[in-house]
Amino acid sequence: MLKIENLTARVAGKDILNGIDLSINAGEVHAIMGPNGSGKSTLAQVLAGREDYEITGGRVTFDGQDLLALKPEERARAGLFLGFQYPVEIPGVNNVYLLKAALNAKRKAAGLPEVDAYEFLALIKQKMKFMEMSETFLTRGVNEGFSGGEKKRNEILQMLVLEPKLAILDETDSGLDIDALKIVAKGVNSLRDPKRAVVLVTHYQRLLDYIVPDQVHVLSGGRILKSGDKSLAFELEERGYDWVKASRVA
């Protein structure tokens, strides 16, 4: 579904990604782990189409399409979803209004009729219940005054409504208490499907107790240093990232 070949990117004159190769098939969950500053978030942002990053080389195909040639909104409509590490507040814009606009933009691009307000309300209420969110979220501004955990839960809610083919979740687990983490994991797991794929960007193995990945990759210095199955995450937890770097040099 997603194929990244020798991708290099820089921001403000600094090379961040130094040749990423990664292949993700439908039905798979991949975890990308790595220390701070390793390029994890950059990779997520580049895939979503953030313009602050300059792509200096390589190619990315998504469902056979040249992903890098698409605008951010086209990538989204094609089924790529980014769960933001720091979801931004948009004061005065209703949370549900934004989500409805997003869903309809996607449906329109797919040649489907727009959902009307009633259908949408029923849909979102059901998803909110699943995510154990209070109905006050219906009337609040986008992430306006949300706690860190509420913002993350809201990202997953958006994901559940938009039903992306490929969800990239950038440190969705950071700042969550254990109960919230379980709810977020429940949301992600509910979307697991032979036709979809999930990329979890995370620091910690903890999330992977609840969302079990098919593959784990260790990113450091803008390269994938090591890949393996879920046991790699446990090993990392035990031995730290320096172990990977050291073993690579050796």
Partner: protein
């Protein structure tokens, strides 16, 4: 997103939708201004002597005054002798008695603007006193209003039918010599609207006037006077549009509001005068004096404005809070795009005890525009326990525009509470990217973010107009992505 200026420019270059000229023979005075012209205007309107005297006094005062230069706006000097001070569409009879008698071309003009003259029209329930250049051509809903005892008519009609009210209230809030543009207006005003809501009456519908400047090289000088007697309530909406012309046109209006004991006046403006083209050529100079006086106890005057038009806006709707416990409010969205310049804000003058005022100003700048908030909060020694809250937020779209905030505060009573909050933000790339990542187009995203920014002001507008204002905002800013 700043990395793609060409796309941004293309989207900003939204054309003005109301730019067309109605071909009607005008009965105009030749350009120029002197006492004879002032007298001619008064004569054309068959005015009583007191009004002529008032005009002449204003004119003489105006001659001694200097055009103000303190506003943060720049324009070539205006040649006041090159302006025609009177222009009326020539009608078969003096004034049309009903819509059937109104020139069909005029009605077509209104139709293009989407102005609801007919009861069945979109904004059913709104009485419109439409001012076409200088003469009111049609007024609706008069009967229903008359039954409630509300007087809603053109200023000229009021001069003839209710001269005692005019004599009592005209210039009582904005004196003839108040400022340069107000003095000019007082000398040459040709028409406008008049509202009187008697004691204890809640006006049964929203009142609305659409102003439209049509004839070339004619300044428009309307005069609006609204009086709410004890316990009366009225909501008034003014909407403005002007056709596209290369030369700049002058618009110097005066609005006076008087609220007596327990009366409430809500005055909403959606101003969409021609702003000039994307190179800053043409457009309306909008130099307007608007002031309300809460003359009685617990009176309330609320100004809400959405200003998207005009090349230059110079406008400070104000409240003089004389009555004990009276309330003044100012909610404003001012948009400046391309080379527009807006210097707008309010004055809240606290005179009475326990008077309260609220100021919420939202300025949006795009292109090369300059957007200035200028506000004054003045608490006089007599205003025991007065309170003010001011909030000014600016939103910048792109790197070439500017926002300025000049809050003036003068507090002469130690028991007063004055709060001021201000913020300036760029349309965040983070906000924009967030929306894009959810599949929303840049245009829709900007509209959404801007509407969110303005929400607290739009909430103050009557429902139908809130929708219109929102649409207008979208048109004015389409694609102005920073």
């Amino acid at each position: 997103m700043a990395s793609k200026p060409s796309e941004v420019e293309a989207l900003i270059g939204q054309k003005y939708r109301h730019g067309f000229v109605t071909d009607i023979e005008s009965d105009s005075l030749p350009p120029g201004l002197n006492e004879d012209v002032v007298a001619a205007i008064s004569r054309k309107k068959n005015e009583p002597q007191f009004l002529l005297d008032w005009r002449l006094e204003a004119y003489r005062h105006w001659q001694t005054m200097q055009e103000p230069t303190w506003a943060h706006v720049h324009y070539k000097p205006i040649d006041y002798q090159d302006i025609s001070y009177y222009s009326a569409p020539r009608a078969p009879v003096n004034a049309p008695k009903s819509l059937d008698e109104v020139d069909p071309k005029l009605l077509a003009t209104y139709a293009k603007l989407g102005i609801p003259l007919h009861e069945r029209a979109r904004l059913a329930g709104v009485a419109v006193d439409a001012v076409f250049d200088s003469v009111s051509v049609a007024t609706t809903f008069k009967d229903k209003l008359a039954k409630a005892g509300v007087i809603f008519c053109s200023f000229s009609e009021a001069v003839h039918n209710h001269p005692e009210l005019i004599e009592q209230y005209l210039g009582s809030v904005v004196p003839a010599g108040d400022n340069f543009f107000a003095a000019l207006n007082s000398a040459v005003f040709s028409d406008g609207s008049f509202v009187y809501v008697p004691r204890g009456v809640r006006c049964p519908m929203e009142l609305s006037t659409y102003f439209r400047i049509n004839a070339a090289k004619t300044g428009q000088f309307e005069r609006t006077l609204i009086i709410a007697a004890e316990g009366a309530t009225v909501s008034y909406l003014e909407g403005c549009t002007a056709p596209m012309r290369d030369e700049n046109q002058l618009h110097a209006a005066v609005v006076e509001l008087v609220a007596l004991d327990d009366a409430t006046i809500k005055y909403s403006t959606v101003q969409n005068w021609y702003p000039g083209d994307e190179n800053g050529i043409g457009g309306i100079y909008n130099f307007v004096t608007k002031r309300g006086e809460c003359r009685g106890r617990n009176a309330k005057i609320s100004w809400t404005q959405v200003e998207t038009g005009s090349a230059i806006t110079w406008k400070y709707p104000s409240c003089v809070l004389k009555g004990e416990g009276s309330i003044g409010e100012f909610y404003s969205v001012a948009v400046a795009n391309h080379y527009q310049q807006a210097d707008t804000g309010t004055k809240m003058i606290h005179v009475g005890r326990n008077t309260k005022s609220t100021i919420v100003s939202k300025g949006i700048s795009a292109g090369h525009a300059e957007n200035t908030y200028r506000g004054q909060v003045k608490i006089l020694p007599s205003a025991e326990g007065a309170r003010n809250f001011t909030q000014c937020d600016s939103l910048l779209m792109g790197g070439a525009c500017a926002a300025h905030t000049f809050p003036y505060m003068e507090v002469k009573n130690p028991t007063a509470t004055v709060e001021h909050e201000a913020s300036t933000s760029k349309i965040g790339e983070d906000q924009l990217f967030y929306c894009l990542q959810r599949g929303i187009t840049a245009e829709d995203a900007v509209n959404m973010i801007v509407s969110g920014f303005c929400k607290v002001v739009f909430k103050e507008l009557p429902m139908e107009f809130a929708v219109e204002a929102q649409n207008l905002l979208c048109v004015s800013l389409e694609g102005s992505v920073g």
